[in-house]
């Protein structure tokens, strides 16, 4: 295995993330442990979106749906007194894969603006479903009585242990998606993105491959949802809010679409930016109060002028743009 400069930089980022708990403890700022765990959870969600959006060219504007389904799977089991983590997370992954299969079966057949609108509409449907089921908190949400229990294996109520679990999962999934994208399966998806007619001409029908990628992305994002609900210890339909889907898309673009490190960079950049705009003491309070205004302006400027994202700043790999 030869390491390109990009891989080394990504490894460097992961090592930095590994050092966060020690640094947070040294500076007595446990808040940062929480923030970076949140960043990594959203990075997992963003990397699943990157699989279909970046490599597959499917502009899903409803990816928050799977975040919600994963969270609800954990929350609903916990509400009925089932706290076993393997069962909860297994259901989260299974249920979001199933929902992705149903949504994908309808939407993947379409493309372009239809695909954007349909994925958005289905997510909105799930959002309203979450709001209207009073049993599981409805609009107000539901407090988790207990975090997911993994016996003696790992204790999620220990912030550092939870942190390293998320870091481990993130590393594993980064590797998995990287392998997937460079496999035959990934080649077909990327081929269908760059030229659908030619892909068909060599005898490959893109639909089953795209649908499979859509389901895999849904399942990974479901896991992120299970992590997120443990992070907040609170279940709310807001996880499925359509603005959340927009944020996930923005993370992918901001980090660098169709790159390995992109989702992680994008999640870190967006969440740190939001955190700064909302609470950084060097900024005046009129910025804090209307922080979304400045976020919106930055978003528009990034889309108009910095299409390649943060990963575009990293050194190019020889022989190709994909890295």
């Amino acid at each position: 295995m030869n390491f390109s400069a990009r891989t080394l930089i990504l490894l460097g980022f992961l090592l930095l993330l590994a050092a966060v708990p020690a640094l947070a403890a040294a500076f007595k700022e446990p808040f940062y442990l929480d923030l970076f765990r949140r960043i990594m959870i959203f990075a997992i969600a963003a990397l699943s979106l990157n699989l279909i959006l970046g490599y597959g060219g499917m502009v899903s504007f409803g990816h928050a749906a799977y975040l919600g389904v994963g969270a609800y799977a954990v929350g609903i089991l916990a509400h009925h007194g089932i706290h076993d983590g393997f069962l909860q997370w297994g259901l989260a992954i299974g249920a979001s894969a199933l929902v992705a299969l149903v949504i994908g079966a309808v939407s993947v057949r379409t493309s372009g603006i239809y695909f954007i609108m349909i994925t958005l509409a289905f997510t909105q449907m799930l959002y309203y479903l979450g709001i209207s089921i009073k049993e599981y908190g409805g609009d107000d949400g539901l407090r988790l009585a207990k975090l997911s229990q993994f016996g003696d294996l790992v204790d999620l109520s220990n912030p550092t242990a939870f942190y390293y679990l998320v870091l481990g999962l993130l590393t594993l999934l980064l590797l998995l998606v990287q392998r997937l994208v460079n496999s035959r399966f990934g080649m077909v998806i990327r081929a269908a993105k760059s030229n659908e007619a030619r892909t068909r001409a060599i005898g490959l029908s893109p639909y089953p491959y795209r649908l499979a990628a859509f389901v895999i992305a849904g399942a990974i994002c479901g896991l992120a949802g299970a992590l997120l609900v443990n992070q907040t210890a609170y279940l709310t339909p807001d996880f499925m809010n359509w603005t959340r889907s927009g944020e996930l898309m923005f993370m992918v673009i901001l980090g660098g679409i169709g790159t390995t490190a992109g989702p992680l960079l994008g999640a870190a950049a967006l969440l740190l930016l939001e955190d700064l705009l909302q609470g950084w003491s060097l900024l005046p309070t009129w910025v804090h109060r209307y922080w979304q205004l400045y976020l919106g302006i930055i978003l528009v400027l990034v889309v108009l002028f910095a299409k390649r994202g943060l990963a575009g700043l990293l050194p190019e790999r020889k022989g190709g743009k994909d890295g």
């Binding site: 959006l53 502009v59 504007f61 309808v106 057949r109 379409t110 372009g112 603006i113 239809y114 954007i116 609108m117 349909i118 958005l120 509409a121 289905f122 909105q124 449907m125 309203y128 479903l129 709001i131 209207s132 089921i133 009073k134 049993e135 359509w242 927009g246 898309m249 923005f250 673009i253 679409i257 209307y290 979304q292 205004l293 976020l295 919106g296 302006i297 930055i298 978003l299 528009v300 889309v303 108009l304 299409k307």
Partner: protein, 304 residues
């Protein structure tokens, strides 16, 4: 029976408002190939301007006029400043940039008028009820909305199908370069179409003001329903937008009104209590899924 008829009229009223939004959105998409998420923001701008002018001057008519003119101006400025550069970009860029615009619009509105909802009333001369049938007294204002919506639909059809401007619009939709080569100022045409679509969205917002609450973010809830309308009707088609809007408006309204009592006759009341509202709020999305499964291009695909 009277109740069903009344709810049907309510559905029709929601439908024509959705149509006003959908017409602009589908025109802009069909002609400029632009996905504009910020279309809902223009609806919000219209609602705020009209409500603000009405409440500070006391004249509802002035509110309507300035609301319309204001939304037109805001739409044209937005097109000139931000959207014009997006026509050549792919849909992903358009979605993200207009998503950013939504954040900007919502925060600017919150900055000017605060985050809490504003409620406005109607002037006395619009608060009347009209007796349509014996026993069916329907609010005059809602009836007016239906009539305005249908009139706009007719006018729109006339402009697009029967005038020189409409001919240019249709020509621009099918071949932009050719129209430009024939000496038509296509950029000006685009700006006009966009401003016109914005004014329609503003009109919907103006009429929504006295019925629903006026607050930041009000546009997005409508916008997603409008997406459903356009997908059902067929993207780029005005006829489709009208049909889709009426279907969605009526199905949504009737579902919310009658699904729960209907379920209660087949299951227990508690089950109906839980499932009724949930199912009602999902109904239009399920309808969309069914339409897509049967006719992926929508009910009235645009002839391109």
């Amino acid at each position: 029976m009277i109740l069903v008829l009344e709810q049907f009229l309510n559905g029709l009223q929601l439908g024509v408002m959705l149509f006003l939004m959908a017409a602009g959105l589908t025109l802009v998409f069909g002609i400029m190939n632009l996905v504009n998420l910020a279309h809902g923001s223009l609806y919000m701008v219209g609602a705020y301007l009209a409500t603000y002018v009405y409440q500070s001057t006391g004249s509802f008519a002035l509110g309507v006029a300035l609301g319309l003119a204001g939304t037109l101006v805001v739409g044209v400025v937005t097109e000139l400043v931000a959207l014009r550069t997006l026509y050549e970009r792919d849909h992903l860029d358009q979605v993200l940039a207009t998503f950013g615009l939504i954040l900007i619009f919502n925060e600017l509105i919150a900055l000017l008028w605060g985050r809490s909802a504003i409620y406005s009333t109607l002037p006395a001369y619009l608060q009347d009820h009209v007796e349509l049938l014996p026993g069916l007294r329907y609010p005059l204002f809602r009836l007016l909305i239906i009539m305005v919506g249908l009139a706009v639909a007719g006018l729109l059809w006339f402009v697009v199908a029967r005038t020189r401007l409409g001919m240019l619009i249709r020509a621009g939709a099918s071949n932009r370069t050719m129209v430009a080569a024939l000496g038509v100022n296509i950029r000006l045409l685009y700006t006009l179409v966009f401003g016109f679509g914005a004014a329609l969205a503003g009109l919907a917002g103006i009429m929504a003001g006295p019925i629903y609450s006026v607050q930041p973010g009000m546009g997005e809830l409508v916008l997603i329903q409008v997406f459903v309308v356009i997908v059902i009707g067929g993207i780029g088609s005005i006829r489709g937008a009208l049909a889709g809007a009426v279907i969605v408006g009526v199905v949504d309204t009737l579902g919310r009104a009658f699904l729960k009592p209907m379920l209660a006759t087949i299951t227990t009341p508690t089950a109906a209590d839980a499932a009724g509202p949930a199912l009602a709020s999902m109904l239009i999305y399920l309808l969309m899924a069914v339409v897509l499964a049967l006719r992926p291009e929508g009910l009235f695909p645009a002839r391109a």
